[in-house]
């Protein structure tokens, strides 16, 4: 059995923090979390999970009661992204567990480290359709990295520890332990110890040296090299190595959406994000490159567009810790299986020379000049959302964290904010779950209380989880939620404009509440923006307010997100306006 690295046993601390003695399975569960140095838990109480909550009664760990279990899962997910440590969410059986599902699926798509602990009906009732019984293992099987039905009180603590280790090691992801009530109530005595991985799980560390040399030679010989940095770079804490490698060899860097922050966007080598709503210059470079060093990305279709036209001239060097990602979507000419940080170090050492790519860099610069990110903002029209995003970026620290819902606002938040550090961009990428914003804001702030946290939400997304505002108020979290309010589920409306003859079926929200007033009802501060003149003052006041604030920003309801590559399209043929679609 292998230990989780950077995890030193801290038995003395744990003994101080935990209950005096371990008496039940639930005590062992709690002790396992303490041994894993868990500080915060997000959850909702309920019958089947009550023994675990009872065991938490004396624990020093901070449990945050969320308004809805979906909120608990998203908060844990954001906590995991920001802190790098698995976020823990808890729910009771049946409806509690099913409410977690969206958040677990989200973590699974984005490989975020999350541990879900669900209550279950007592073992003797399992399979009988007992009150609040759901086959949680069956339901969450396809959306977890691993899930386990705990069936033994004596070992349940170790099971939870191993779920924690699995969430964090190798390709990160959500794990779940289903905890029948009789198991958590049953007798346990032993300290479960620190988290250990199951024997069959041995993620690779470094890539094969020969493959590394060949890949390095390929990169060094390239005329038009790019680096494509995915979320895996951030997960592996490899941003520093990436920065060194790129600057040393002067290779332009493109990121995927989860890779935002892996490389500073104000760096001259940065081309920012490619894909459906990526920058024109990133999409040109990713199309024309002859050598792509792709690190920690799964080549999602929002990035690649149609595979036929994705980097068709490029030899692909693909670094990933999960062998199953190699050639899943895009064939890798040079697979390097291993941890991104370790492999980047290997590559750095193996590079025989830097690629001779002056012309290519000039070409990239030319694309940057040709396709600047910009928007028209006539003064007599309603406020443009991009303007609001930039105003908040200007007014916050460089390491401020941005969280989002899903939709147009999410795209503006990634296009018009300049990300400079890893773990400052917290969003629902692969699943695209509306409602992610508010709970993620809570999780992010709990993970990084000293940082500015700004959420850009859509009116539709906000309405899906705005009840979590009550939690932000109760926990007195100093966060700012900016609703880019277009009285529509705008991204859908945009597609209707473009592909459905402007038939706005079920995408307009004529009955939208006053979000500033709603915020006040929750005990938060509410602000409202209607004109450009108000922007600066509201930004200042909302950020200055010491507690949760909600800015209801009434933006141009007709504004759409560009550039755009229609789904399955050709990245190099991105449209700059509807006419070009």
């Amino acid at each position: 059995m292998s230990d989780v690295p950077q995890q030193t046993p801290q038995e003395t601390d744990a003994a101080d923090a935990g209950p005096e003695d371990i008496e039940t399975g639930a005590d062992a569960v709690v002790r396992a979390l303490e041994n894993a140095r868990v500080e915060h838990l997000f959850g909702v109480q309920g019958g089947a999970i009550m023994p675990v909550y009872d065991a938490l009664y004396h624990s020093e760990m901070n449990h945050i009661t969320m308004a809805h279990e979906q909120g608990a899962a998203h908060a844990a997910d954001a906590y995991g992204i920001v802190s790098g440590e698995p976020g823990i969410c808890m729910a009771t059986s049946g409806p509690g567990a099913t409410n977690l599902v969206t958040g677990i699926a989200d973590a699974n798509m984005d490989s975020d480290p999350v541990v879900a602990l669900t209550g279950q009906v007592p073992t003797e009732f399992v399979g009988n359709d007992a009150f609040q019984e759901t086959d949680t293992i069956g339901v969450t099987g396809p959306i977890t990295k691993a899930n386990v039905f705990a069936n033994d009180s004596e070992t349940v603590g170790e099971t939870v520890g191993s779920a924690f280790a699995l969430a964090k090691r190798g390709r990160q992801g959500p794990t779940l332990v289903d905890l029948p009530k009789d198991v958590t109530k049953g007798v346990a005595e032993d300290d479960p110890g620190t988290p250990e991985l199951p024997e069959t799980y041995n993620p690779p560390e470094t890539a094969e040296p020969e493959a590394v040399s060949e890949a390095a030679e390929t990169i060094a010989s390239a005329d038009k090299p790019v680096i494509l940095a995915g979320g895996g770079v951030i997960k592996a804490e490899a941003s520093e190595e990436l920065r060194e490698f790129a600057t040393e060899h002067e290779i332009p860097v493109i990121t995927t959406m989860p890779g935002i922050g892996a490389f500073p966007e104000d760096h001259e080598l940065s081309l920012e994000m490619a894909g459906m709503h990526g920058t024109g210059y990133a999409n040109m470079a990713i199309t024309m490159t002859d050598c792509m060093l792709a690190i920690g990305t799964r080549f999602d279709d929002r990035l690649t567009g149609g595979l036929e036209t994705f980097a068709p001239d490029a030899e692909v060097v693909h670094v990933d810790i999960d062998p199953a990602e190699i050639s899943k979507n895009v064939e890798a000419d040079h697979p390097l299986i291993g941890d991104a940080k370790a492999v980047l170090k290997q590559l750095a050492t193996a590079m025989p020379r830097s690629p001779a790519a002056d012309e290519w860099r000039e070409q990239c610069q030319q694309w940057k000049d040709e396709y600047p990110m910009d928007y028209a903002a006539p003064e007599d029209e309603p406020v443009k959302p991009q303007y609001v995003v930039e105003a908040f970026d200007d007014a916050t620290a460089d390491d401020a964290i941005v969280t989002t819902g899903v939709g147009q606002h999410q795209m503006w938040a990634c296009q018009y904010w300049t990300y400079k550090e890893p773990r400052t961009w917290v969003s629902s990428h692969g699943l695209g779950a509306m409602g992610y914003g508010v709970p993620a804001t809570i999780g992010a702030k709990i993970a990084a209380p000293e940082k500015d946290v700004v959420c850009f939400d859509g009116d539709g997304s906000f309405l899906m989880t705005c009840q979590e505002l009550s939690v932000a108020v109760r926990e007195d979290l100093d966060v700012t939620i900016v609703v880019l309010n277009n009285a529509a589920i705008g991204m859908v409306r945009q597609w209707q404009d473009a592909f459905f003859g402007e038939r706005h079926m079920a995408s307009q929200y004529p009955w939208i509440p006053e979000f500033d007033t709603l915020a006040e009802a929750f005990g938060a501060r509410g602000f409202r923006i209607d004109t450009y003149e108000e922007v600066e003052e509201v930004v200042e006041e909302a950020l200055a307010y010491d507690g949760p604030s909600v800015v209801d920003a009434h933006i141009d309801p007709g504004e759409n997100v560009y550039p755009m590559v229609p789904s399955g399209g050709d990245n190099g043929q991105f449209a700059l306006s509807e006419e070009q679609l």
Binding site: I137, G138, G141, P142, A146, F149, P198, T200, Y201, G280, M284, T287, M288, F299, T304, L307, E308, T309, F310, A311, P312, D313, A314, D322, P323, A324, I326, S327, K328, N329, V330, E331, D333, E370, Y371, P372, M373, D374, Y375, A376, A377, Y387, E390, A391, D394, A395, V535, E536, V539, Y562, P563, G572, Q573, F574, A575, L576, S577, Q580
Partner: protein, 210 residues
């Protein structure tokens, strides 16, 4: 003051799609770089994959769920215990293009109780069992066919005859064709079980498992 206040805003600009540089190459729909003139796709092929797995509740469900979810074309799946307590062998027959077969192996490997996965090439030893029930009007002819295929009669009555045939897939298909003339009432096939030939290992099993 916000930096965007004095900027003159033009909206997005730049050359239109048709004015842009174009790459010369192309990939196929499987993401493989190809000669654009030729447009080759990988053709599916049939193969046998063997997985050695720890017996844990839900392992089979996870494996079959995986095939369904990832849309792998699976033809048969058999499972049974091995010589080692607590471990089973799953034999899968799949029909996929090479990249798909590769994915099948890698995805199987990610299922935690799966200890080892291998594709059995080089003519593995593979057998299937079929039980079939035919109309009993011509018992002598049925018996002749059964003998021809080294089968065994399991049950014979005035109206039906039930036989068993074991063999490789081709033999079973042929046998079923041959019985068709009598009127087949029901068929139950097991799907293939297979081991690698000779000294070759079917799955990497360390000393704790041998």
């Amino acid at each position: 003051m916000s930096r965007n206040q004095d900027t003159h805003r033009n909206g997005l600009e730049g050359p239109a799609p048709e004015e842009r540089q174009r790459p010369v190459g192309r990939r196929n729909s499987q993401g493989i770089r190809i000669d654009p003139e030729v447009e080759a796709e990988h053709e599916p092929r049939r193969t046998i994959i063997s997985a050695y797995v720890a017996d844990e509740p839900g392992t089979l469900a996870r494996v079959s769920g995986l095939f369904h979810r990832r849309q792998f074309n699976i033809e048969s799946l058999t499972v049974g215990p091995t010589q080692n307590d607590g471990y089973s062998r799953i034999t899968l027959v799949v029909e996929e293009p090479d990249p798909g077969i590769d994915q099948v192996k890698k995805q199987l490997n990610k299922v935690l109780p799966v200890v080892h996965v291998r594709e059995l090439d080089n003519e593995p030893v593979a057998r299937e069992l079929v039980i079939l029930k035919v109309d009993g009007d011509e018992p002598d002819k049925v018996q002749a066919i059964t003998e021809m295929y080294d089968g065994e009669t399991l049950d014979a009555g005035p109206r039906t005859i039930t036989v068993q045939i074991t063999g490789d897939e081709g033999k079973i298909d042929d046998a079923i064709d041959a019985y068709a003339q009598f009127g087949i009432r029901e068929i139950a096939r097991t799907g293939q079980a297979a081991l690698a030939r000779g000294e070759e290992e079917t799955a990497r099993v360390d000393e704790t498992h041998t």
